[in-house]
């Protein structure tokens, strides 16, 4: 803990204030000022230049009836739900590594989990964009070779999907409106998150050997051991990564921008709130309106964060 300090000592130590000045300057300019500026400009018709016109709450009124903006939250809900499922491979991986008897293997798998991170996230996204390529992409070729394509075609005919999958026509993952959302979910398969696995492993290591022995004496099988011993102990970490994922999904639009472009792909099916804000500002030049959208989004995320903090504190 930091020491309390008397007024006289504090006066004597005035130089310490110089230490906080650089941080304060940076944060004032690039964190506080933008927030205030966003609120201020949301009341203006502003195209990013010097001239702006005060229009009161008109931007907010327009935002409330902006169906593209509110529909984009549906996509967020879908992506968040899929992210919950996507946590499973990382948990499975952590439990499997933890259950290995050999410490040396545990170490090497740990290294293996981190290894895919050597490819920058940006490049991984570009490679996935290439995987989605209709003619040369790895995904379609895999589906063709493995025969899964035939299955999908039958699926299409049975459910009358209208030829999204048809024989002899390459699947256009990022070009067919109905496939945009599946593509946004599939990318990154098998969704091993290095940070997640390492966090879970750290949680699992806190399980004492005697708990395992007790479980073994009780005749617990592999699933029961997971359900009643391992999972409860990594619950905190799982919830932590879930919260981080939800907030990242709400805020993020780099993924959609790179895979689909600033219009959210064909039919705008990949439109997320952040991307729409970006689109309004830098493509339509409606900076004031984009600020108003940003404030809605901001309020939404802040509300979630506060809710989460309260929830987590109660749990403790």
């Amino acid at each position: 803990m930091s020491n309390s300090i008397s007024k006289r000592k504090a006066l004597h130590e005035w130089k310490l204030y110089l230490f906080i000045v650089p941080a304060l300057l940076l944060l004032l300019t690039f964190s506080y000022l933008p927030a205030i500026s966003a609120i201020y400009h949301s009341f203006f018709r502003w195209t990013g230049g010097d001239s702006k016109e005060f229009i009161g709450l008109k931007n907010f009124q327009a935002a409330l009836s902006d169906s593209i903006f509110w529909d984009s939250f549906i996509l967020i809900a879908i992506l968040v739900a899929s992210n919950v499922v996507k946590l499973v491979p990382s948990i499975v991986m952590a439990v499997l590594i933890h259950r290995l008897k050999s410490d040396r293997w545990q170490y090497w798998y740990r290294v293996g989990v981190v290894l895919p991170m050597i490819v920058p996230g940006l490049v991984t996204l570009f490679i996935w964009k290439f995987f989605f390529d209709p003619t040369h992409g790895a995904l379609n070729q895999f589906l063709d070779i493995s025969g899964l394509k035939t299955l999908l075609v039958h699926f299409d005919q049975a459910l009358h999907l209208g030829g999204i999958f048809s024989e002899g026509v390459p699947i256009s993952w990022l070009g067919e409106p109905a496939l945009i959302i599946p593509s946004l979910i599939i990318w990154g398969f098998p969704w091993i998150g290095a940070v997640g696995v390492l966090i879970y492993l750290a949680g699992l290591q806190s399980i004492g050997a005697e708990i395992y022995e007790a479980a073994e004496l009780d005749g617990a099988n592999s699933w029961q051991r997971f359900r009643f011993v391992e999972f409860p102990l990594i619950m905190t970490q799982v919830r932590l990564s879930l919260v981080m994922l939800i907030i990242a999904t709400l805020q993020g639009y780099g993924l959609q921008f790179l895979l689909l472009g600033p219009d959210g792909g064909p039919g705008g099916r990949g439109m997320v709130p952040g991307l729409w804000m970006f689109n309004r500002a830098f493509l339509a030049g409606e900076f004031g309106y984009a600020c108003a959208l940003g404030i809605f989004l901001f309020a939404f995320i802040l509300g979630l964060t506060v809710l989460n903090n309260r929830y987590v504190r109660v749990e403790k």
Partner: protein, 286 residues
């Protein structure tokens, strides 16, 4: 006697065997995770003809198209250099500022510091997504449009609050006696940071540095709206323009991706241990 020994041996053998399915699943999962890397590597050595003929298996060594890398290096290297300059400077700036700031909060309870701290933490709760539009106009009014300085300052400011938050906790855990001893020896606060704080929080500084570096390195939205001239593009923007070209020589593109990954690969090779330890330790603390 003999029977128990042999049963023990068979138990050990069965244990080892029972790990086999786990190894199988683990290797499968890791294998697919590494698929993008594998595809990038093997395609980067092919020309389009070889790529169209067979894009899954690597070609024979004598068909490897090393000139793809020549092309990629000529094209991408300037962007990589720009990205390195931006990320390294931003990381150094962020951590220097963060160490000073964390020391201010951790060393004494100075007047006003109890007001400043919650104001800082508030920034961690605040979503940054709404900021990109006003940031653009601030960068513009600072006359930093089309300049790498904008990205450096933004990168440094971006990871700052989190780094201060983590570092404050670490500095507060350093025993006070060490600071007092240093003070008696006549060390200024700056000296105490150099001689006490930095040596004692080396590994966490390393982890924070990697995190800040990664964030700056992977950012492409800010560079996209800030940078205009192709000479100062960072890799993100460079790759977006490269990927948008109509006629694609896939081998050259993949080689460019690999060259763009190289700095991170080098960092990871040297800091793998630090990275794993730092992440796990941070997770346990949190």
């Amino acid at each position: 006697m003999n029977a128990t020994a042999s049963s023990k041996a068979s138990v050990a053998a069965s244990r080892r065997r029972s790990d086999l399915p786990k190894h199988f699943v683990l290797i499968l999962l890791l294998g697919i995770s590494l698929l993008p890397f594998y595809m990038m590597m093997q395609i980067s050595l092919k020309d389009n003809q070889a790529f169209f003929a067979n894009n899954w298996l690597p070609g024979l060594p004598e068909t490897w198209q090393w000139q793809n890398y020549l092309y990629a290096i000529r094209l991408i290297l300037p962007y990589v250099v720009n990205s390195v300059v931006v990320s390294v400077t931003a990381t150094a700036g962020c951590l220097a500022t963060a160490i000073l700031g964390a020391y201010f909060f951790a060393r004494y309870k100075m007047p006003f510091s109890s007001l400043l701290w919650p104001a800082f933490l508030l920034l961690m709760l605040m979503p940054s997504v709404a900021n990109i539009v006003p940031l653009f106009s601030i960068v513009k009014s600072l006359n930093l449009l089309n300049s790498l300085w904008a990205l450096i300052l933004l990168g440094a400011a971006g990871g700052l609050v989190f780094s201060i938050y983590v570092l404050r906790n670490f500095i507060e855990e350093i025993p006070q006696d060490i600071f007092e001893a240093a003070e008696i020896d006549g060390a200024s606060h700056f000296r105490q940071i150099i001689n006490v704080v930095i040596p004692m929080s080396g590994s966490i500084i390393g982890t924070l540095a990697i995190l800040t570096f990664l964030n700056t390195w992977n950012d492409f939205l800010m560079p996209l709206i800030v940078l205009r001239d192709s000479e100062i593009f960072t890799i993100g923007v460079g790759l977006i323009y490269l990927n948008g070209e109509y006629v694609k020589e896939w081998g050259q593109i993949m080689a460019a991706f690999f060259v763009a990954s190289l700095p991170l690969i080098i960092i990871f090779l040297f800091m793998m241990k630090l990275f794993i330890r730092g992440l796990s330790a941070g997770a346990v603390k949190g």
